[in-house]
């Protein structure tokens, strides 16, 4: 796989889901998550197209992170941006990603999101997709699964996480203003995280 192709697929999946993500955010936020993320990946596409052909995975992810930070804005911009930057750092000098590296990268990304956003699991954020995904990869590694199998489990766990966000009250992000009334709605950020994971899995599978 080339990292650039994978990112493009993830970004395209987000752009395709733009309206859906925006609708989700209208219900419990300010109705811009899809718009923000689509704008971010359009900008990222220009930036990765300008990369040298020999750019390694870490370089590509760094470009994505910087690109998202400087084009998304809102809450998701710094969070996803930081996540990609940390994932980039976690795979420095690697040319291929095995399951263990994948988990290290995802954990670094999660740590980055938490450093910035101070949220934990169960607050109805993107973390409710990403943390279960990471845990699923861990379980897969323990069970001797390869990176593709692990990613498959991660996607399933993230999807379950998205469903779970419907059942809980938001205590971080804009949806927290709604308190009880955020129940019943799925979190836009958890949804976009899952979309990206799924695109990645579709690419490598």
């Amino acid at each position: 796989m080339t990292a650039i192709e994978a990112i493009k697929l993830a970004g395209q999946a987000i752009i395709e889901e733009k309206d859906f993500l925006t609708d989700l955010d209208q219900a419990i936020g300010d109705g811009d998550h899809g718009i923000n993320m689509a704008r971010g990946f359009s900008s990222v596409f220009t930036k990765i197209d300008a990369l040298k052909d020999d750019a390694d995975i870490s370089m590509v992810l760094k470009t994505v992170g910087m690109g998202l930070i400087s084009s998304v804005g809102g809450a998701s911009g710094p969070l996803y941006g930081t996540a990609f930057l940390r994932a980039s750092a976690a795979c420095k000098d690697k040319n291929a990603i095995d399951a263990v590296t994948a988990k290290e990268m995802l954990d670094a990304a999660i740590k980055g999101i938490q450093d910035r956003g101070k949220a934990v699991k169960g607050e109805k954020t993107m973390l409710d997709a990403l943390i279960p995904a990471s845990e699923a990869i861990g379980t897969g590694i323990d069970a001797g699964k390869n990176v593709v199998e692990c990613l498959k489990d991660a996607v399933e766990a993230a999807q379950t996480g998205v469903e779970y966000t419907k059942t809980i009250i938001a205590t971080k992000g804009r949806a927290s203003y709604l308190a009880e009334r955020s129940i019943g709605h799925q979190d836009p950020g958890a949804t976009s995280s899952t979309t990206m994971l799924k695109a990645l899995y579709e690419y490598v599978k």
Partner: protein
Amino acid sequence: MKKIINNPDNVVEEMLNGMVASHPEYLERLEGFDVVTRKNKKSDKVTLVSGGGSGHEPAHGGFVGKGMLDAAVAGAVFTSPTPDQVYEAIKAVDNGKGVLLVIKNYSGDVMNFDMAAEMAEADGIKVEKVVTNDDVAVENSTWTIGRRGIAGTILVHKIAGAKAEAGASLEDVKAVAEKVIANSRSMGMALSPCTVPAAGKPSFTLADDEMEIGMGIHGEPGTHRESITTADEITQQLLDKIFAEDIYHSGDEVAVLINGLGATPLMELYVVSGKVQTVLQEKGIKIAKTYVGNYMTSLEMAGCSISLLKLDAELKELLAAPADTPALVQF
């Protein structure tokens, strides 16, 4: 969606160009960035940078000028600007005396401005931050992200701006901004939603006889919805929620800001303001100054917010100090 625009994807750019072209005596555009800066910079004062998503005009670019902000950063509509934009604004206005960032309390704004502050500090620029959180529609507790910053933010611009203009240190400017934040509270309601140009459809829908209480200035749903009632009852309800904060008491002196959300006729704002004056008078609260108009809007939302600021001698004097900006002139 009915709007006088050309292209939803270009609306912020065109708005900023129009703003700067309309007010060349006040504003300059920071080339290549969504930042407007004060035209006649004063080189020996603490500088103030604010900003946030677009769609709240005249906030924040309209408050750039003498006695208020030195730069305003405009994000996409209702979306916090990115750190690099804020960072450029800080660099553009810093003159060595330090920069105060006035941030409205939203996760996105706080994170993006934080990152910008880190970038500027890495360059050796002195940066301080205050986070406004006047909206009592939202609970403030350690378990939530706290109250939102809404129209009360303008009073921070005004007073901290006056303090900076008077030559105060970064610490003192920050302290007076914190004082405004501690003493100001706001509460809003809407008769109609607004439509983010790129989204193309309204943020929520209301029946013909419904109003939304405590909605956010980005079209976030409110605390509840009820049948439309009279201006007096609406005003009383908003004030009751503000008074529940136990800040404003008989004998106090306050400033009042009756803020239109973009599509509210001034006629209605004055009806509300009249009732506010009566209620405060009955409570024995003195009003030093009332502002009525569109200060922190939500695109074409119909509705209003009421803000109160408890004044002491320092705040009162700074509020009355001159300001010369496109959206607020006072002498």
